[in-house]
């Protein structure tokens, strides 16, 4: 069975600080990996995705994530966060050909203070 573990449930940062959110997954096959973000009062939206190729993927708003296959990890990073990055971040995985059956982690609530 697939599972996703997000290590930090709540993170508080000051503006301009660097961000790294951890994500580890468990799955016995080839995977697609995703980070979704939910801003306050808004719906879930895709931040970035990895299907194949370059393990360093870039998403919207300056976010990037690195797939490390040997570590089953897909950590999210941003060099300098802004107050507007305050949101909940979800890591998700599905197996190749797994349709839209995404397995999500429990989420990380990020608060960026001015």
């Amino acid at each position: 069975a697939q599972s996703v573990s997000q290590h930090n449930h709540h993170v508080i940062l000051s503006e301009a600080a660097s961000l790294e959110l951890g994500c580890n997954y468990s799955y016995g096959g080839t995977v697609n990996l995703f980070w979704y973000v939910q801003y306050p009062g808004q719906h879930l939206q895709l931040l970035l995705k990895y299907f194949s190729g370059d393990p360093l993927v870039k998403g919207i708003k300056g976010f990037e994530a690195e797939f490390i296959k040997s570590k089953f990890s897909f950590n999210l990073r941003k060099p300098s966060v802004q107050w507007s990055d305050t949101a909940e971040y979800f890591c998700a995985v599905n197996g190749k050909g797994g349709g839209n059956k995404l397995t999500f982690g429990t989420g990380t609530q990020l608060k960026v203070e001015l």
């Binding site: 697609n32 808004q42 719906h43 349709g99 839209n100 059956k101 429990t106």
Partner: protein
């Protein structure tokens, strides 16, 4: 452009009742998926429908059922409601049936409270 729309946005039911939640996908999207998000947890997959056929089912009891209509809209039905069914129910649509070539677009959700 209209995104994924869900109705109702909030509803309150009592134990043992039945509920129907509705979802309209983005125009042109043929796949609809349903997820349950309990407070403090990530969304959990319930169903996927593509071209009106069930293409995937999560680990939910038979009290949960769904269908997709010819216009690609979808309904999620839950019978014999339990307190534990209280959650945010999310609908997501995509152009195709897999995430290999597209992304999921989520609606705002239907917040169900069971008393």
């Amino acid at each position: 452009d209209a995104g994924v729309t869900q109705s109702p946005t909030h509803l309150i039911k009592t134990r043992g009742q039945h509920v129907t939640l509705r979802c309209s996908p983005i125009s042109g999207h043929k796949s609809v998926s349903w997820y349950q998000q309990v407070l403090g947890q990530g969304p959990q997959f319930i169903f996927q429908y593509y071209e009106k056929e069930e293409r995937g089912r999560g680990n939910f009891p038979d009290r949960f059922s769904a269908r997709q209509f010819p216009n690609y809209s979808s309904e999620l039905n839950v019978n014999a409601l339990l307190l534990g069914d209280s959650a945010l129910y999310l609908c997501a649509s995509s152009l195709v049936g897999t995430t290999n070539t597209g992304e999921l677009f989520f609606g705002e959700g239907s917040r169900l409270t069971v008393l």
